[in-house]
């Protein structure tokens, strides 16, 4: 199981983005969940772990919450929770239909 260890400042997009900022239809990979409190643990239990792939499916008509897809299921999160998940964009070439936690170590092609 390979993990993404790259925290270098040379990657402008990877470090600064959180899950709530990702637009609909994009897929991202989880870098980490900010904090070590019960909410962070719960997000962890829900499959939001380092290396997990998450797709942004759609937002509610009123703009919040958002449906995400990960680990083969769909999960609604509000901004208050999804903003705690730091993510890095996935290479666009990858098949967005596939899901699962099996992380791909590829770092090339980060937009």
């Amino acid at each position: 199981m390979s993990k993404i260890q790259s925290h270098s400042p040379t990657r402008p997009h990877g470090e600064s983005q959180t899950l709530d900022q990702i637009s609909r239809g994009r897929s991202v990979q989880v870098v980490d969940v900010v904090g070590d409190d019960p909410i962070a643990r719960r997000l962890n239990d829900l499959g939001i772990r380092e290396g997990a792939r998450i797709s942004v499916i759609r937002r509610a008509p009123l703009g919040d919450p958002t449906v995400f897809e990960l680990c083969g299921y769909q999960l609604c999160l509000r901004r208050s929770e999804s903003s705690r998940v730091r993510v890095t964009p996935e290479p666009p070439a990858q098949d967005a239909e596939a899901s699962g936690t099996v992380a791909t170590p590829t770092q090339s092609g980060v937009a």
Partner: protein, 640 residues
Amino acid sequence: MTSAVADPRSADPFVFGLLGSPNAGKTTLFNALTGLRARVGNYPGVTVERREAELALDDSRCVLIDLPGTYGLDPISADEAVVRDVLAGRTEGVASPDALIVVVDACSLPRTLPFVGEAIRLGKPMCVVLTMLDELAARRGNLDLARLEASLGVPVVGVVGHRGRGLDALRRLLGDPQSWSRPAILPPEDRADRAGWADSIATSVIEEHPTRHRLTERIDRVVLHPLWGSLLFAFVMVGFFQLIFTWANPAMDAIDQGIAALVTLARDSLPAGWATDLLADGLIAGVGSVVIFLPQIVILFSLLYLLEDLGYMARAAFVIDRLMGRIGLEGRSFVALLSSYACAVPGIMATRTIPSPRDRLVTILVAPLMTCSARLPVYALLISAFVPERNVWGPIGLQGLVLLGLYVGGAVAALVVAAIFKKTLIRSDGLPFVMELPTYRWPTAKVWASQVFGSAWAFLRRAGTIILAASILLWVMLNFPKVDVPAHLEGPAASAYALEHSAAGRLGHAIEPAIAPLGFDWKIGVGLIASLAAREILVATLAQVYATGSEEGEPLREALRRDADPETGEKVFSPATVGALLVFFVFALQCTSTLAIMRRETNSWRWPAFAFGYLLVLAYTASFLTHRLVSTFAGNDWLS
């Protein structure tokens, strides 16, 4: 302990605990294994439902406990601590499970594996039941079950709970928990290491990841569309509310007439006397006051479970969540509050779909503020008697506006009170809002029917008995002690005299000083006491007090308009008093059925007592202010 399986005569039955995430199919499996013989209660100190049932295996009797759904064993709230405490044997009156059945949704295995690892570390005999294998196949996913069993070191069985597939194999496995394999090495204790352990297992056993559910994707494109989704939400919610109202009405009328016919039959065939009165007006009418709710409850739960099992409920909650989030609740509270427009009893029962026990409690506490159908006869009487029939703007009449104002007032009060409770008394338990969107699936008729039947039965058995007892008590108060009616009084005047001297009548007089600031006299006081049985009884009681002998039409309205204080000559029903009375009914929890169902759903008298108290204070205060305001600004002249 484990010898109980081998020895069926043993006093302590062997206890299996059913553990798993919400939506993993835990409850379906529980029902499939036990056939709905569940004893339902609460865990001590929290509003978390506790379900257990006997599990009949071939040669032994066991108990199956359905533990609350959880995503992990590391609790993040007091309510979630229930699972950990039961597993550790720290919960009084609940046997610690001797073995665990961990239910896992096959489609989201990578998510659940760390949880399985946590469960294995508890050291109890354990097996894993994989559910939703039919959905996994439909989504062209594939798992190697044998390899999963080998990697975990515990038995793994696949089932399709609602079709009953795989249950025989599971029953055979449950018959002999001593033979269950145990892992040679426990999964890692550290969270991150355990995630790595889970990922390596997932990589080796998942041969094909499930694709997205095509049909669900297509339906959601419409159902969750910003415009169509919102329109559909409005349509479903209005339809839901309308059906509870309109479909239930014929059945409720039929029950009403049936009960009236039974009362007449009892009066005609039995000798006159108080025993007959008790049977006819106390017992039969009391049973009627319970059964009258059944049509609404059956229709509500038929629709609720249908929408839930189809997968729409989660979508509806998703669409409305932002608005409910503003007051500290979440989307799933909306449905319960909307149902309460028809009646708070089914509305409170509908809060079962809210996973957070605190949100559920707050929703239960404010549900009585939604304007239920029982308030309508009261509003109709007072508005038609005292609000002038004139148009204020085009075809819009004043009477209709007042009625609308009362409806809106109740809803606004419910939302404001909910927001206050969530900020003060019943703060959030720190649980983040998380909700899974299940794939759409057809509910199986059998499962659906048994859920509806189970809810209706639970209502009859648990709340019905309290409602019946309260109706009889109120009947006694309205009819005893018996007094000698003066000879010159007869007909309605005689029954008015008897009522004034009954326990309720005396109580009405006794509370008069307390309600005088609201502009209410003892007659309204009797009406308020009687309307504790059900709000609409105010109308019948006022008819009796005013000795009009008729509940409808001119006589009662006229009598109310004419009634004046014998000393001052002032009208009893001044605009201020009418306003105060209407406002009182917006807030007050004048309904023993609601109190009974609150008692049943929260498993304590504490919350119904609290709700009754806070709503009484609210009603009194608002009513007092209304009386003052109207007295000051409107004067007494708008009736003449």
